[in-house]
Amino acid sequence: MAQTIPDLRNPQPIRNRKKPLPFPFNVWQSAIGRKWIMALTGVGLLGFVIAHMIGNFHVLEGPAKFHEYAEVLRDLGGGIIPRMWLLWILRLGLIAMFGLHIAAAYTTKEISRKASDGANFMDGQKSYPGGRDYVAANYASRTMRWTGPIILLYLIFHLADLTWGLLPHTNYVKGDPYNNLSTSLGNLPVAIIYIAANIALALHIFHGTWSLFQSLGLNNPKYNNARKGLAAGLAGVILLGNLSFPILTQVGVIDNDKNECAQFTEQAENTECFEELLSHGGE
């Protein structure tokens, strides 16, 4: 009968409070600070998603222009910063933002788990055994913890597919993004993966965009009513933009048959071929 009876006047804290670190590390020590970091990195990642989508519309201008866009990215800061340097600085920034975003999400989720499951629930149950009726929480907000990992898995797949060329379904040619994109998305199963993942991304962005205003404390009655609309609009535009690539490939608007340099499989050769094409187009 050595049952422990909880002290009802002094409930057991769910964490051991640590000594405060100097700024800015003390921001990370609190959940509100982590939500702040999650929101800031979310804004950065949202910027990347938008820039990535807009840049990808170059694919509609044909293989040569798409190749040129890829080259411009490598030459960012052209003339001042050595080739590939700025691109790598941006990439490292993105990786850092992803890392912080995921770490903040995981650790705050763990805090909430500790705060909500406990001895006063029925054995093995984490929530109300009698059921809970959600009023405000929508599908997007309740699935943030699922759409997040889905996006991470999709990101790894996407990098392996079109950046590293590790997957067998594409005829991967370094330096010919049009060839890679059109042969990859030309596969129906791959196109379906892209479509499903982008729906998850749009749901994540919908709740994230609304939520970040709250987390950052950007609250002003003048524009509060516009926040849900902004979130829906942004998620909608990103969804339509990103879905257009697999769909246009499936219907044949983006097709590797339109790629005049498809026969070259070496980076140097197809670069030469594309530059030849571009110089004719410029006349």
Binding site: R15, I32, S112, N120, A137, Q214, G217
Partner: protein, 258 residues
């Protein structure tokens, strides 16, 4: 009279003590007046249980007019029942139909240990209040009226925040068991007023840090606002987040230079 009576079935959480295992028990509540409040309905059920020599259902209540924050109850999965801006004591049985099946549970969170049946200890919320829910004023003779001018907007906002009765519905309704709405109301109620300025940054830091000792993190679902009997706005959570990070950034050795 009889046409205003309804018969309902209750599934009530029964738990003998803090360390005991709980279970649902089903009660038939017959001939309940639709004019009675939910708590009065439970009183009637309890009277009948006592007549049958059974243990009555323990639940908390005090003022029964929606201003004390003592009553709780998760009714059909919603804190304080289905109506917006009402505490359980203000919920009337006319909200329900004859033959309804109603599930009644206590407010649940790790930091809300169950005392017995439907009564939970909300002492963790008192800990948050102790950490900074006060102001420093000089005692003595009463100050002159209007000695400290308060802008109308600030007074209105502070009043809206002060409407929080500390019932814990926000924690119960939150999927993360977060007490953000309660804490933000208590922080902002004083932070918005000139009388609360001297402890402003200390208050938000200490109250939030204490909140995080006991409760979960906010994911901005907005369930708390829907459950709140006083309809405390989610805006206060944003204001609290802003003040908290500001407090972390501020170097209070430069006090008075902000």
């Amino acid at each position: 009279m009889s046409e205003n009576n309804i018969n309902i079935t209750l599934d009530v959480w029964r738990q003998d003590g803090p360390a005991d295992k709980g279970r649902f028990e089903t009660y038939e509540a017959k001939e309940i007046s639709t004019d009675s409040s939910f708590l009065e309905m439970l009183d009637v059920v309890n009277e009948r249980l006592i007549d049958d020599e059974k243990m009555p259902i323990t639940f908390e209540s005090d003022c029964r007019e929606g201003i004390c924050g003592t009553c709780s109850l998760m009714i059909n999965g919603q804190a304080h029942g289905p109506n917006k801006g009402q505490a359980t004591c203000q919920l009337h049985m006319r909200t329900f139909k004859n033959g309804d099946h109603i599930t009644v549970e206590p407010f649940r969170a790790k930091s809300f240990p169950i005392i017995k049946d439907l009564a939970v200890s909300r002492a963790a919320m008192d800990k948050i209040q102790h950490a900074g829910g006060y102001i420093t004023v000089s005692t003595g003779s009463a100050p002159d009226a209007n000695l400290t001018p308060v802008p109308k907007e600030a007074a209105d906002m502070a009043f809206d925040a002060a409407a929080c009765i500390g019932c814990g519905a926000c924690v119960a309704a939150c999927p993360n068991s977060a007490a953000q709405l309660f804490t933000s109301a208590k922080v902002q109620h004083l932070n918005l007023l000139p009388q609360g300025q001297s402890e402003r940054w200390m208050r938000v830091e200490q109250m939030v840090d204490t909140m995080e000792d006991y409760f979960g993190t906010c994911t901005n679902h907005g369930e708390c606002y829907e459950a709140c009997p006083k309809e405390i706005s989610l805006d206060f959570i944003a204001f609290m987040n802003r003040d908290y990070v500001k407090a972390k950034i501020k170097n209070r050795k430069l006090a008075g230079q902000n």
